[in-house]
């Protein structure tokens, strides 16, 4: 297995706030790495820092052997990283079709084939093909945000709390889609719901107060009652 992404002792400031204070993590090619931590721990900021949206102020980020710490967001994305933000950031006045079109780096046959595949994962999107993003339900927005990151041939996907605010049945289909995507791409997933995280994750990184406290295989965390109680409040 090879390392696709490595963060080494990353610090991030936003304005005068020192938000990330030493985040380290690795993502192995083909695996799902779950980022865990309580509210405000710095999970979202970690993903934003990888994307260059809240750039690291120190430490290094390597992707596919290349130092991307200081690259602008668009170059990071063009390196093959797809981002599904916590608030989905669907383009509200664009239709489903247009949302996917904006995302497509090139509109060739391969991209169309991927789009068709994505639509089999999320049939709802096909149903509401001409509907504006702003008029979709919460679950459909989540699917659109994921589809948008998946129409390109991305090697890595950063997905931030895809289950947030969704009904259990919708969560199940979102998780099913993630399991499908996993066959084709490496994933870093933020997921608060522990059973969900345990179900799909291969490894985990636990962040607290902007700092990595522990990383390891998911099955180890499942057995580590002490760690779960201290940092995740799971009894």
């Amino acid at each position: 297995m090879s390392r696709l992404l490595t963060l080494e002792n990353v610090h991030t400031h936003i304005g005068q706030y020192h938000i990330l204070q030493g985040v380290s993590l690795t993502a192995e090619e083909g695996e799902v790495t779950v980022l865990l931590g309580r509210n405000g721990a710095g999970k979202t900021t970690t993903l934003r820092t990888i994307m260059g949206l809240s750039p690291a102020t120190s430490g290094t980020i390597h992707y596919n052997g290349q130092d991307i710490t200081k690259l602008p967001t668009f170059s990071i994305a063009n390196g093959g990283i797809g981002y599904v933000p916590e608030d989905q950031a669907v383009f509200t006045t664009l239709t489903v079709e247009e949302n996917l079109k904006v995302a497509m780096r090139k509109e060739d046959e391969a991209a169309m084939a991927r789009q068709d595949y994505v639509l089999t994962l999320f049939p709802d999107l096909k149903k509401f093909w001409k509907k504006e993003g702003g008029h979709l339900s919460g679950g459909q927005k989540q699917m659109l945000a994921m589809a948008r990151a998946f129409v390109n041939d991305n090697r890595l996907m950063l997905i931030d709390e895809p289950s947030k605010g969704l009904a259990p049945i919708v969560i199940e289909s979102v998780m099913e889609a993630i399991r499908e995507m996993k066959k084709q791409t490496t994933i870093i997933l933020v997921e608060q719901n522990f059973s969900m995280a345990a179900g799909v994750g291969d490894t985990y990184t636990l962040i607290d107060d902007g700092e990595t406290v522990q990383s390891g295989r998911m099955e180890e965390l499942v057995r580590d009652e002490e760690l779960k109680r201290t940092y995740l409040g799971i009894a």
Partner: protein, 287 residues
Amino acid sequence: MDLLLNLTVNGLATGMLIFLLAAGLTLIFGLMSVLNFAHGGLFAWGAFSGVFFYGVTGSFLISVIGAVLTGVVLGFITEKLIIKPVYGNHVQQILITLGFMLVLSEMLKVVFGPNQIAAKTPDYLSGSWEAGGVILIKYRLFIILVGLLVFAVVQFILKRTKIGLVVRAGVINKEMVQALGIDINKVFLYVFMAGAGLAALAGALMAPYSGVVYAEMGLEFAILAFIVVVIGGMGSFPGSLLAAILVGLAGSYMAYFVPSLSLAVNMILMAVVLIFRPQGLFTAKEA
């Protein structure tokens, strides 16, 4: 009847010129949240370079094209030199673009001399048509047509092309656009240059309409354009067309019926719209 029609045509023509100016302003505000008070300077440069090219070539069409190109080139320089260093800081934007507005006006005087210059209307657009006792001034109809044409073309680009999609998406969420691998700064530069070209087009069309060009004309019109951007909903392209027509018509009617109010009417219009719809007539994020 005749009078009302003429006032309406007048108002529409002025409205279209304001719209051409506001179109660029609203898109650059929507996309990058940039307040550009130098926009009127580009308008004035369009007017002067239009008159200049018309004098040199004798072709109105070529003069308009020359003016638009002048605007596009000036837009490129303005974005690189003036706007880029002050992204994200409105106070600095207002100060530096107002300053640059003055520089652009003064440069006009340096290049073209300090006096106002007469502008000619080409023969084929001079005079008027008379139909059923109604007199329609050709040049005003021409301006209205050009305005509608520009609206249709820009609307087509925004709705049907990839770059248009990117611009619309950027108005809604520019971070996400970048996270999809698009260099938003480059897109913004293009939009800025296109907006500058439209401002210059407005200037070039304004010149024969008012008969003279003078260095201060930019500031006057830029204020109207800003009012239109606010009324239309900052960042909304269709909103700016509607608002420009409103402002044009209101100005035209008021100047005739209540001349004492004609200067205040735009402010009143803006206040009324903002009381009932603080976000403007349209909003970029929902319209």
